[in-house]
């Protein structure tokens, strides 16, 4: 018998006294996809996200290009990699800063990305209660390596993308998963507490996470 069949046989024999459906079948009463009640969803997201030592700025929607360019100038960022589907207006503003722009059209190698200072992307969903940003790596966010290897990640979140809590986020993300896209949930910059439980920010992912929230 091959391993698969044998494991199936073992499971069925382990369950032989557990009928397929009977009165012991546990009944799930959980309501999926429910929001968590809060007065200011976007405000809560900003507060929680900043709690993780992410740098959060809040701007009006028409100020996004300007806010991105200002961040790049303020930090003196010398190079940036852009996902192929980034909003053209954002791209134009970045070009004007004079920073070196790397395109990921023909995928860059890991060590090439390692030489790039930053990445600018959009997001898919944000979760207020936990201060989490979720990327579904659509064209305006780029493939996963883009937001992993460069040391600075500038991420733009639209107010309409912010939901109260995890259940609403999971419901919104289902279509991306059905489309075969990977998801990356980001809650602050990478961190470790492995040495005497002292929190140290910045291990392997970007050491600086800058979030621009557009109302």
């Amino acid at each position: 018998m091959n391993a698969r069949d044998q494991i199936m046989t073992r499971i069925r024999s382990a369950l032989k006294h557990t009928p397929d459906q009977d009165e012991d079948e546990p009944i799930l009463t959980w309501q999926y996809g429910q929001p968590t009640s809060m007065t200011d969803v976007v405000g809560c997201f900003i507060e929680r996200c900043a709690d993780y030592k992410a740098e959060v700025t809040e701007v009006d929607a028409d100020q996004i290009p300007h806010a991105i360019a200002a961040t790049i100038k303020k930090l003196g960022i010398t190079s940036v990699v852009l996902p192929p589907g980034l909003d053209p207006a954002w791209r134009a503003a970045i070009e004007q800063t004079g920073t070196t722009i790397c395109e990921d059209d023909s995928p860059m190698q890991a060590h090439e990305l390692d030489a790039v200072a930053s990445a600018v992307t959009a997001a898919a969903v944000a979760i207020a209660e936990t201060g989490t940003i979720v990327l579904d790596h659509a064209a305006n966010q780029g493939r996963r390596a883009l937001t992993l290897i460069p040391d600075i990640h500038i991420c733009v979140v639209l107010a309409s993308q912010v939901v109260s809590d995890v259940p609403e986020a999971v419901a919104r993300l289902r279509p991306s998963v059905d489309a075969g896209r990977p998801l990356t949930w980001i809650s602050g910059p990478s961190a470790t507490s492995d040495i005497e439980l002292k929190r140290v920010e910045g291990v392997h992912g970007p050491r600086l996470l800058i979030v621009i929230v557009a109302r």
């Binding site: 499971i11 995928p107 992993l148 993300l173 040495i195 291990v203």
Partner: protein, 502 residues
């Protein structure tokens, strides 16, 4: 393509640091290991401080969620449903994974799982792999199997790296190097890193940020040249074939994203039925384990995504004793475990003794249940584990999937007793019970026994109880418990003296 075809060997002639010698299952009984571990004052202090901190953080983050009890009940119910229909859910997961471009493998036991992984890595020609922390590959001792096949396996989680470079074993499922302090870690980095890759800077201090940055530099090169990644999985979603890895440092993202080949080794109990079920588990797990609202990074991937990440995706579904757990109607509930480690941090035995005494990669309350259930009761360590518990009842309160530990532990103690009766070897406990049975069987024998016990009582009249230093085998009892001196006069004698006419 790999930039390296051969890797340097260390002074032991190995590719990766040698772990401590011996197999976990061959360790002596728990009390013997515990005595040894308790003598390590540093470890005890680190562990007490660390677990107290995590306990407080967890309590705070849990108190923020008004529906916490509903979430736990939902998680328990979902996992119970999975276990009752594990065969159908596994087949559904296999189908979803295959449809998404992953190749599914099945492994009955550790040896088979390791062989599958070794063969897959060999087929790529890679001399090394980067690994995300995973309990199941520790359980199967995959790193050693790879080393023997001439492949270097690099642990990339900071704590796992400390443990690996320190020729040590993890002592906690979440913070595996909790037993090491900063200066010990500094020494390990300084002496070991250079043998296996980028050395630590010579002026390394014991500041946690400096140590973390040394680890980042040491691993960076390994990530950039990696062609094969190996992971576990926190959850496997049956209806979409999505795998989930929850982490903090970003080493997981590196291993899951940069290599061309990704091999995920996943226990068959990791299933959740629907993608939507993650809304329950992603709320329970981070708060229960690290006491955070959310862990820094979670990766979810569904087979192969063209143009993004590994293009050869393998999933190895491992039994290795899990179906034996399923076959035990009371023990089955331990398959619900999502490895958050809350039970360990709250356990008065674990927080004193630490993870090394348990003879298993799973310590603490879940370990003393799961290890004997998975491995059987033949070894001294597994027979002793269900007794490494005071039945204080703290762990079921914190467990996010509501495992009823006292129920499982008492059941396992019964199983151990039964096992010893069936065993042909003589056991002290069963011999003592059999002897008592013989005395109780006949009135005359009983009289003789009470006379003997009265004699002992009269001889030791001056004492209240026997001390710790009794001769063997009585010492086994008195070393940790009181043994009162028997009464000088039995009830029968007293009755006869007071109520029967002369």
């Amino acid at each position: 393509m790999s930039q390296l075809t051969t890797l340097p060997r260390d002074t032991d002639g190995r590719l990766t640091p040698a772990p401590p010698p011996g197999e976990l299952i061959d360790m002596p009984r728990f009390p013997i290991n515990a005595r040894h571990e308790l003598a390590n004052t540093d470890q005890r202090n680190n562990l007490q401080a660390a677990t107290a901190t995590i306990r407080a953080k967890r309590a705070l983050r849990v108190s923020e969620v008004p529906q916490w009890e509903d979430l736990r009940q939902a998680a328990k119910t979902i996992k119970d449903q999975v276990d009752r229909h594990l065969d159908s859910y596994l087949l559904q997961a296999e189908q979803s994974l295959t449809k998404a471009g992953a190749i599914v493998h099945w492994a009955r036991d550790a040896t088979e799982a390791n062989q599958i992984v070794v063969d897959l890595v060999k087929a790529t020609g890679a001399p090394e792999v980067v690994k995300v922390k995973s309990m199941v590959t520790q359980e199967t001792e995959l790193n050693e199997a790879l080393e023997q096949a001439g492949i270097a396996a690099w642990e990339t989680d900071l704590a796992e790296l400390i443990v690996q470079l320190g020729h040590d074993r993890p002592s906690h499922v979440l913070v595996p190097a909790i037993h090491k302090n900063r200066s010990q870690i500094k020494d390990i980095f300084l002496t070991e890193m250079g043998q296996y890759g980028t050395p630590a800077p010579a002026d390394l201090t014991d500041d946690p940020s400096a140590l973390t940055s040394a680890a980042r530099t040491h691993l960076r090169n390994k990530f950039m040249r990696s062609t094969v990644g190996i992971s576990g999985g926190n959850f496997l979603v049956a209806d979409t074939g999505t795998l989930v890895v929850v982490e903090s440092e970003g080493n997981g993202r590196m291993c899951l994203t940069l290599p061309q080949t990704l091999i995920s080794v996943v226990g068959i109990e990791k299933i959740v039925p629907r993608f939507e079920d993650l809304e329950v588990f992603m709320r329970l797990l981070p708060r229960s384990s690290t006491g955070e609202r959310m862990n820094p990074y979670t990766s979810m991937w569904t087979g192969v995504t063209p143009g993004d990440g590994p293009q050869n995706v393998h999933v190895v579904l491992v039994d290795n004793g899990r179906t034996s757990v399923l076959a035990d109607p009371i023990g089955r509930q331990t398959l619900r475990c999502i490895r958050c480690s809350a039970c360990m941090n709250t356990c008065p035995v674990y927080t004193l003794v630490g993870g090394h005494a348990y003879g298993s990669v799973y310590p603490g309350p879940i370990g003393i249940c799961l290890s004997p259930l998975m491995r059987g009761l033949d070894s001294p360590i597994d027979q002793s584990l269900p007794y490494a518990c005071t039945l204080c009842g703290a762990c079921p309160d914190v467990c996010p999937v509501k495992i009823d530990f006292p129920e499982v532990i008492i059941h396992l103690r019964h199983e151990v007793a039964e096992h010893k009766i069936r065993d042909t070897k003589p056991h002290l406990e069963t011999t003592a019970i059999a002897a008592a049975g013989w005395f109780f069987a006949k009135g005359r024998r009983f009289t003789v026994m009470t006379w003997l016990s009265g004699l002992v009582g009269r001889v030791f009249k001056a004492k209240k109880q026997f001390g710790a230093h009794m001769p063997w085998p009585a010492r086994l009892w008195t070393s940790a418990r009181d043994l009162p001196i028997p009464a000088a006069e039995s009830f029968r004698e007293w009755w006869r003296r007071n109520h029967e006419r002369p």
